[in-house]
Assembly symmetry: C2
Homo-oligomer: 93 residues x 2
């Protein structure tokens, strides 16, 4: 498992921001990937923006953003599509 | 005003998908920029994914994604930050 991934869900917002900031500070990561699906995508963007602009301003910035879709069958056999996002934050060189 | 911008809000989901598809088909646009703020960011990603993968598969793809923050003061003078996203779809060459 890659420790530099932060999956965004329904926990308190600042938990995720603290998680991102700690990866860069106490764990000295060069990159952190913030991942989310469906309705949590807006939140992932908020976490990326608050982490990089308020807490790590000048030292960390958005390096890459990917969006994609995942398809699966639900319990009734119906095809479901859900969007995903991955925002990569990285240290400025 | 740039007609190639689609702003995502609270209208029915397929209105936005139809808007994107029509820009590429009947209006022959080379690029369409899907924009959203705050909670509508998840929806903007859904519109981009459904438009490019289901309706325009093979002919249109995600060319660029930008995220940013806007800051303003609310009615009580408090500083408010809101995230924004811009997803650029473009025709394959």
């Amino acid at each position: 498992m890659d420790d530099n991934n932060i999956f965004i869900g329904g926990k308190p917002f600042m938990n995720y921001v603290t998680g991102v900031v700690m990866q860069f500070t106490t764990k000295n990561a060069d990159e952190v990937v913030i991942k989310a699906r469906g309705k949590f995508i807006s939140r992932a963007v908020d976490v990326a923006e608050v982490s990089s602009k308020r807490f790590l301003e000048g030292s960390v910035e958005v390096k890459n953003i990917k969006i994609d879709s995942e398809e699966f069958k639900n319990d009734e056999g119906k095809d479901i599509r859900v969007s995903i996002i991955e925002v990569t934050l990285g240290k400025n060189r």
